[in-house]
Symmetry: C2
Subunit: 188 residues, 2 copies
DNA sequence: CTGTCCATGTAAGGCGTTACATGATTGT
DNA sequence: ACAATCATGTAACGCCTTACATGGACAG
């Protein structure tokens, strides 16, 4: 379970509230690890029960109490252990490929409608990755934590490359359907 | 929920038992939609309750009864509806990217250990896809259902392309860490 | 005689989503 | 006046995984 570890990761930089964590996720790893609010709060309770984090209750006159979470030594140790341990292979479920797999049941127009939708989505994601890299990539030069920042940013490169690969496939598939040219490309 | 629809997809070709379905998954869509046994049986019960499939009880002297499932007209209609409807975007969770994102907390050796593991996995998957395409790709020529077969096989191309993109990224990342060359490539 | 294949399920638990609930402060 | 932001949670439901349970047939 990586949500736990992603939370520990953020808390290793800085102590945060559940609300802050939600923002941190949305602004950074959301494209490969979306986290919703209720899940974050539940996981934080679990981490506190496991002594991976400490809860600091911040009282604020007038407003409701706030809980700030701090990573413990045990939490840091667990984070490091997890980060440095190779993960078991997990295949993601890609429902779009089920649609293509059984595409024999659809007309050309229907399949191409599906493909057009996926093409638009892939292009939109590519635009977002490009924009984010443009935005944050400049901070790299002469940054005192260049290595750490680089490693965070390179996850966007992964997004770029894999969505580009998906887009290439979609376009090539669309073209072959259009041409009724049912051949497989194996490029080594 | 696509498991339901993948099951309907297989049943649209041929009536099968739960056991047969498990084998069908393992031999075809397993790389982008793994399904385990208990899940298949439960989903089949649900589909039967929804009148998407009919249960035929096959009695066999000596051996236990067998249940063979047949898709209904309603099931076919639902399958067609789902196959032809664009899906909402869903971002997959990629725990490996969390490891890289927080890689600043690891040593070069530790990160490269993780990368080496992922490189081996990607290469193994590529080999499997190549072998499957070699094996089944030849059936395409002059096949009476060339279009349907092509659409099924092209999902392997997707696997090939996306794992190749992942592998390229892993190798490039490994090289940049080795060189301590923390720069981002944007290739448009 | 041991293991693998055929064949069907139940139980329990984890992870994730959506909806619901509350309430003050800040910006338009 | 109304919406968005700050801030924290609960409840219910769905999907998936793992482990458990049963039992005959067949191959080495």
């Amino acid at each position: 379970m990586s949500l736990k570890h992603a939370i520990l990761g953020f808390l290793s930089f800085k102590s945060l509230t559940g609300y802050d964590l939600k923002k941190a996720f949305d602004q950074s790893v959301q494209h490969f690890w979306p986290a919703n609010q209720s899940q974050i709060y539940r996981t934080l309770s679990g981490l506190a029960a496991d002594k991976m984090v400490d809860q600091e209750i911040v009282e604020r006159e007038e407003r409701l109490d706030m809980k700030r979470y701090h990573i413990t030594d045990e939490g840091r140790a667990e984070l490091h252990r997890w980060l440095s341990t190779p993960l078991a292979e997990q295949s993601d479920r890609i429902p779009q490929l089920i649609q293509v797999y059984f595409g024999g049941l659809l007309s050309d127009e229907e399949i191409m409608g599906i493909l057009a939708h996926e093409i638009r989505n892939a292009e939109a994601r590519l635009a977002i990755y490009r924009q984010m890299l443009q935005e944050f990539g400049q901070e790299l030069d002469g940054h005192e934590q260049a290595r750490a920042l680089f490693l965070s940013l390179t996850t966007l490169e992964f997004g770029l490359r894999s969505d580009q690969a998906a887009l290439d496939w979609l376009l090539s598939l669309d073209e072959r359907i259009r041409q009724q040219d049912y051949k497989i490309d194996i490029k080594d």
